[in-house]
Amino acid sequence: MSVAQLAGGRVPRVARRAAQREWLFIVAAVVLLGIVVMALFGPLLAPYDPDQLFVGPSNGAVSASHIMGTDDLGRDIFSRVLSGAAASVFAPVVVVVLSGVLGATLAVVAAWFGGWVDGVSNRIIDVIFAIPGLVLAILAVAMFGKGLVAPVLALSIAYLPIVSRLVRGGARAELGKPYMAALRIQGVSSGAIAFRHLVPALLPMIIAQSTIGFGYAMLDLAAISFLGLGAQPPASDWGVMISAGQASLLTGAPEQSVFPALLVVVTVLAVNILGARVTAWAEGKDS
């Protein structure tokens, strides 16, 4: 069970309201741009080799030469945060894309054929929905071993029902519209109706859903890495860094955990604000 399943993938009302404030939206967009730059060019921007031990003191405080301090092994935290950004950002993207494609396909097929196909698809979705996302991820780790691959695949499946339920509803509504009947009467082939008209009409909804899903996926994946089941040390995935820094917390050196944690929280907040914008755009398109 993640917040994703709880919220049914909807934008929290808080974020919806926040998205109406222009300055907040601009801040969120700038933050996200920064995160994307980190994810793409992180290793190039890093001032130190992220895996080089003792470039500074053990658990060194924030200073001019180490702007986020150094970790228990004397590695530069800022460099590690930069080099870990790629995995921390792209893994949730994979989850969102996979669950979006799978969920939307299932939903469109179910809405298109109806009848027993719809029934079977509903049953599949019920079963997936009955397994909390975290449990599914842990199951996948037990199957395929520790690492990011298993949790990413598991979460793609865990998020599928959210996308699928939403898109199925949208697809049924779209199929019921007069222009669909008109297309059929004109003799447009089923394939053309499905791929040139139905799917494009549903895309804004799927994109909006994916934006919101990204934030949730990021939190879930970081939690799994925090549990020690996702990315493995010495990788500098943010979840791993948060977990690895736990011992240093008690010695009064919170930097190793707190900076990556802050990045996760800020990224998710920014994505939620952007997601609210995208949802408003998608809903505007619909009417």
């Binding site: 069970m1 709880l6 975290l134 509803g169 970081a222 925090f226």
Partner: protein, 318 residues
């Protein structure tokens, strides 16, 4: 509840059992077919072919998968949960001593979520003004604070700076347990308190602005009574459904707090078992979590149906 509400519920019960059955098949088959039990059982020691034979026979690994499934399910029903690959002890002996602490942690968390989530939501909705603003700001931050982030902040703050609460282990005896579980429960609850607070506030505000409440006011009914009988009761299905889903999921995400604070509960056992490919343990705990999740959600559905019979009727677009 009349017959019209009970029939759809019976249908739901059937669907629920089918879902549980299918989920159990998925959990069992997925692990049984892909896992490498021999490596987990021998713990990395290179086994001789004879040893492999013995192990396969001992764990019935050569039987067809459906027979293995039936034996597993039959065992669970009769209380035989199998044998851990790693510890070589009955799974039930691993689970039994750990259930209590997880249940206690979840209950503690639920109390915090219900009291502060619903409480602050109602407060914000009824007081409005500065109180509403304050709750809005607090919950806006709260919904972005996942368990592991709150956990490390609390460990830093209390473990190092303040020292009011222990940050490791579960303690001994109920009172000491509760003392030890305070920070884990807070770390699990923050995000959901914020979320439930928003939901509650929204539901209550919607009711406060509705015509039937205006009517009650015009009739001169005391505002306390209006709130209890007209506002809160009508807002409760929405609040309950979110609370229920939260509670159902807490048994799973409890793992994060257990690992962060070094508590030997079900979640930390599941995490460790998954890391070591201890399939029998993973299968049983996963099934328990899924069953709990499904049952709690169903119970909440029934309660909501009792309050609001309309919710039990099949929705047209659902």
């Amino acid at each position: 509840m009349n017959r019209a509400t009970i029939r759809p519920l019976l249908g739901k019960l059937g669907g629920l059992l089918l879902t549980l059955f299918l989920a159990s098949v998925v959990i069992f088959a997925a692990l049984q077919l892909t896992g490498d039990p021999i490596a987990a059982i021998t713990g990395g020691v290179r086994p001789t072919p004879e040893l492999i034979e013995t192990i396969r026979a001992q764990y019935h690994l050569d039987d067809p998968i459906w027979l293995q499934y039936l034996r597993w399910l039959g065992g669970i029903v009769t209380g035989d949960l199998g044998t851990s690959f790693v510890y070589k002890t009955p799974v039930v002996d691993l689970i039994a001593p750990r259930i209590g602490i997880t249940v206690l942690l979840v209950l503690y968390t639920v109390v915090l979520i219900v009291v502060f989530g619903i409480g602050s939501g109602i407060l914000a909705a009824r007081r409005g003004g500065a109180t509403d603003k304050a709750v809005l700001v607090a919950t806006s931050v709260g919904v972005a604070l996942p368990t592991f982030v709150v956990a490390i902040l609390l460990i830093w703050l209390f473990g190092r700076e303040l020292g009011w609460f222990p940050v490791y282990g579960a303690g001994e005896g109920l009172l000491d347990n509760l003392y030890h579980l305070t920070l884990p429960a807070i770390s699990l609850s923050v995000l959901y308190i914020a979320y439930l607070s928003r939901i509650t506030r929204g539901a209550v505000v919607a009711q406060l602005g509705s015509e039937h409440v205006d009517t009650a006011r015009v009739r001169g009914i005391p505002s306390e009574q209006i709130f209890r009988r007209h506002v809160f009761l009508n807002a409760s299905p929405q609040v309950l459904s979110i609370s229920g889903a939260t509670i159902a999921g807490l048994f799973a995400i409890s793992a994060i707090a257990e690992v962060a604070f070094g508590i030997g509960g079900l979640g930390s056992l599941l995490t460790e078992a998954a890391a070591r490919k201890d399939l029998p343990v993973v299968q049983v705990i996963s099934l328990m979590l899924v069953a709990l999740f499904v049952v709690v959600n169903a119970v909440v559905d029934v309660i909501i149906a009792a309050i609001d019979p309309d919710s039990a009727k099949p929705r047209r677009n659902a």
